[in-house]
């Protein structure tokens, strides 16, 4: 890996989110809490999701988390929560899909900054196969928790 690649991995935005994570800490209320681990490196995240009934679709009211891990995984949790809070679940899932596509592109994708905002800073991470899981850990946890809440709602109906 070259130093140039290193700087593309550790974008300023990522380091900023790492040092000053947004929406960090576990909060109430929440309908589902999950704990995800990256078994390769031991990174962990505990994540809670609070949804409300929206007019057309459920809305992500809050995502709170306690993340242990490297700068990439911590910054990803921060950026993810910032991106999905306030969106409807379908909107948030579309952002998740855009992020996933970028991460699986081996660095060749041209991510939509309108959609991903600070998330585009992770484009460089896609060039480091060993670090892609770091960037995806909290996204996977969010998706898992959200689908658990939706499943609960379905049962109650």
């Amino acid at each position: 890996m070259t130093t140039q690649n290193l700087d593309s991995l550790y974008q300023e935005i990522i380091l900023d989110h790492y040092k000053n994570p947004i929406h960090a800490g576990l909060r109430e209320p929440f309908e589902a809490e999950v704990h995800h681990v990256n078994p390769i490196c031991g990174d962990e995240v505990t994540l809670r999701v609070h949804l409300s009934e929206g007019e057309r679709a459920p809305v992500v009211e809050d995502v709170s988390y306690d993340a242990l891990g490297c700068s990439i995984s911590q910054a990803a949790a921060s950026v993810m929560s910032e991106l999905v809070i306030g969106k409807t679940v379908p909107e948030a899932l579309a952002i998740h899909q855009e992020f996933l596509t970028m991460m699986q592109s081996r660095g060749n994708a041209e991510p939509d900054e309108e959609v991903l905002e600070d998330g585009v800073a992770f484009a460089g991470v896609a060039k480091f196969p060993a670090r892609i899981k770091c960037a995806l850990l909290s996204w996977m946890a969010w998706k898992d928790a959200t689908s658990q809440v939706l499943a609960q709602d379905k049962e109650q109906r």
Binding site: M1, T2, T3, N5, L6, L9, Y10, L15, I40, C41, G42, D43, E44, L68, G69, C70, S71, I72, Q74, F128, R131, C134
Partner: protein, 420 residues
């Protein structure tokens, strides 16, 4: 520097990979030898020569090259036996790796009939500094048999806490399994003393020597162990081959591990009978060329002399500990002096995650390991989730340690962590 191997630059030429240049023109600084060691040209050549000229299956082919392959495979066993001073060559069993060797012991102890077998009410004693490969097989064994798993704790200095040994080691203890040298903390454990105490209560002693055999003289006969496991790829040999040494009397009481070719005396449709050790435990076609490579590897180390390798490791480790102590915010996990310590040094840097440390070091050609090093309980003991580990070997130079120390200062600068 006292203790370094003589003509280190000449010795390094034995290892072709060490002359590699990495991205941005940085020379490779390989400090991940506790993970896997590099291979000398003689090992590479021996394996190529075997495949080019002597390849055949062993112990069943009746042709000339079959005889050559069998002889080469068994000669490797002789070399390993000599290297670890095994009382008999038949006590050396080839496995896939150290994990398989430890699983072999744990499984066959569960299956053994008579007094050797582990049963409900028995206890197995391990330590908090074990690699997962010396934890999980015993968890599986105790779950399956109803036996109880107990643990030696660790002191704040990263040594085994033996203060409650009388409570832990009782007539219920059937097995004591522990590492000789910790892959995370570098601690060297007093195997002979613990083995003596274990034998007093009639327990078997299993030693994970994966980190010991590469870096110090290991004499299984003098060690006090009943079983000792290590892996080929950490002793300058290839991957895919490990070694289980066991005392003949105990090995003979254990049932087979895997069933298949080469381990039988005869097979009928009603039942099978088994051949003697070591082949009783070597079902199927073994890792032949890997054994040949391992034999040459241990001969290579034997020729250099394991006392000399140990002295080199201690000199380099002492130098590394000094260098790391000069870095503000850096904490070494485990013993702080090289006296009774292996060559793996794990550390934390305040404010920077180990993955980020290793990523930035890698950009300067410096290869270390980051994570839990398959020793999660030991990390938990010290209240850390993961650490960065630098591990040296017989080819490591003081200049490479300097590169590491400079690299770590660069890491701190890169992540803007002040030198407090």
């Amino acid at each position: 520097m006292d203790g370094l191997l003589p003509e280190l630059d000449v010795l390094r030429k034995d290892f072709p990979i060490l002359s590699r240049t990495m991205a941005d023109g940085f020379p490779l600084v390989y400090l991940d030898s506790a993970n896997t060691s590099q291979k000398p040209q003689v090992v590479i050549d021996a394996m190529v020569d075997h495949l080019e000229r002597h390849n055949a299956n062993v112990a069943r082919a009746m042709h000339q090259i079959g005889a050559e392959a069998s002889a080469a495979f068994e000669e490797a066993r002789d070399k390993v036996a000599r290297f670890i001073n095994a009382p008999a060559r038949d006590e050396v069993i080839f496995t896939k790796n150290a994990s398989e060797a430890l699983n072999l012991v744990a499984n066959t102890l569960a299956w053994a009939r008579g007094p050797t077998g582990v049963r409900e009410g028995d206890e197995v004693l391990i330590t908090e500094m074990e690699h997962h490969s010396n934890i999980v097989p015993w968890q599986l064994l105790t779950e399956r048999t109803g036996a109880k798993l107990r643990w030696f704790g660790l002191t704040d200095d990263g040594e085994l806490d033996l203060s409650n040994i009388d409570d832990l080691l009782t007539e219920r203890t059937k097995v004591v399994s522990l590492t000789w040298v910790s892959n995370m903390l570098g601690t060297v454990n007093p195997i002979a003393e613990i083995a003596r105490r274990a034998h007093e209560v009639g327990a078997l002693v299993v030693v994970d020597a994966s980190q010991a055999v590469p870096q110090m003289p290991v004499d299984v006969a003098a060690s006090g162990a009943d079983f000792l496991a290590f892996t080929g790829h950490k002793v300058t040999g290839p991957t895919g081959i490990g070694v289980l040494w066991g005392r003949r009397e105990v090995l003979e009481q254990l049932p087979p591990f895997l069933g298949g070719g080469e381990m039988i005396a005869t097979v009928t449709m009603e039942r099978s009978t088994y051949t003697d050790i070591p082949h009783k435990f070597e079902a199927g076609t073994p890792p032949i060329v890997e054994a040949v490579g391992l034999g040459v590897a241990v001969d290579y180390l034997f020729a250099i002399g394991m006392d000399n390798v140990k002295a080199h490791e201690q000199a380099i480790t002492g130098y590394a500990l000094e260098g790391l102590a000069s870095i503000g915010g850096l904490t070494v996990l485990g013993p702080k002096t090289a006296g009774n310590r292996g060559g793996a040094v794990s550390f934390e840097i305040a404010g920077i995650h180990p993955h980020d440390v290793s990523q930035v070091l890698d950009a300067r050609g410096i290869a270390v390991r980051a994570g839990h090093h398959c020793a999660k309980p030991a990390h938990q003991r010290f209240g850390v989730q993961s650490s960065t580990r630098a591990s040296s070997y017989l080819y490591t130079t003081p200049a490479e340690i300097d590169a590491l120390v400079d690299g770590l200062e660069y890491v701190k600068k890169y992540f803007r962590v002040s030198s407090s």
